[in-house]
């Protein structure tokens, strides 16, 4: 028993060498090549821990990445100074500003869009507001022959309770109709 244990002790390499030797007996010409092959296999790179690390990193970045943020910006230039849009209105620009008022109606989701100083049917949504504003614009380059220039000031005048979503919707419609001078009315002090 002890003898056999001793011969086994040098490990697999010795065992493999013995096996290789026994093979060599059978096929004498290929004996040397077989031995070489065994030593190549021993020199394989152990990348297990590296793979563990890589998978962990991959999982971390997959889970932390946030793709759903489809956020963009609609640029606006607000009038500088105290008073907000009210001061812009009192400086009396040569062109009469178009005042678009937004009012809540019934449930919070609904909004009424009205032009304050011109008589026109209230647009039913912001798509309609965009249509109306486009038709009102004087822009020969885009086949528009209305009476308002693109630089005509437009003031958005929402009620207190109007949702921000609607305010931005109105602003977006105005910017989309290529008006460049848009401001937001300040709330009346009370």
């Amino acid at each position: 028993m002890t003898e056999s244990r001793d011969t086994n002790k040098p490990g697999d390499l010795a065992a493999a060498a013995v096996v290789a030797g026994s093979h060599a007996e059978g096929h004498e010409t290929h004996g040397k090549r077989k031995k070489h092959k065994v030593s190549i296999k021993v020199a394989a790179l152990n990348i297990t821990s590296f793979m563990d690390l890589t998978f962990n990193l991959l999982l971390f970045f997959v889970l932390t990445a946030s793709f759903s943020i489809g956020e963009g910006v609609v640029p606006a230039d607000l009038p500088v100074g105290s008073g907000g849009a009210a001061s812009a209105a009192t400086t009396a620009p040569p062109m009469t500003p178009l005042v678009i008022s937004l009012r809540t109606f019934g449930s919070l989701d609904k909004v009424v869009i009205q032009f304050e100083n011109i008589s026109i049917d209230p647009p039913k949504d912001f798509e309609a507001l965009y249509d109306v504003l486009s038709r009102m614009q004087d822009d020969p380059a885009h086949n528009r022959s209305g009476q308002y220039s693109a630089k005509n000031p437009i003031i958005i005048k929402p009620d207190r309770g109007v949702m921000w979503n609607h305010v931005v919707g109105a602003f977006n419609a105005i910017v989309r109709a290529r008006y460049s001078n848009v401001s937001f009315a300040a709330l009346p002090e009370n």
Partner: protein
Amino acid sequence: MPKRKKADLPRTELNITSMMDLVLNLLMFFVLTSNFALAELPKVEIPELGAGSQARANEKPDKIVVSVVAEGDSGNAVQIKVGSSNEVAPGDYGRLTQLLLVEKTRSKDVAIDLRADKRLHYESVAPIMKAITEAGISHVNIVAGLPDSE
């Protein structure tokens, strides 16, 4: 005898070379595309504008972002955040102006991204816009959803 049998068995090894290539490529992709600055901003439901949205992708990420967080569907603001660290209580618009004035001295041509929740009422957002203009900043970008890609 059993020893010889073991050596005769074919060594079964998975060839993971192509998988490793794939994994490393994925890793590089996520390392390079992940954006941690946005993750620091408070969660806000931004206004959705549908297909006609004029919103453009944010080119300059180093703007001051003023986020206004809504208190559920009540329409009231519950928190105002300047950037990712400075917090202003709703109603304390004087402090908001102060903070923005400090930011303004740091860089001349300052722009603000107003990132307000779509459920807020105008009375909660208007004073914030007023506070921004009182700080002498006129360039305000309103954060909204990008056009739906249909």
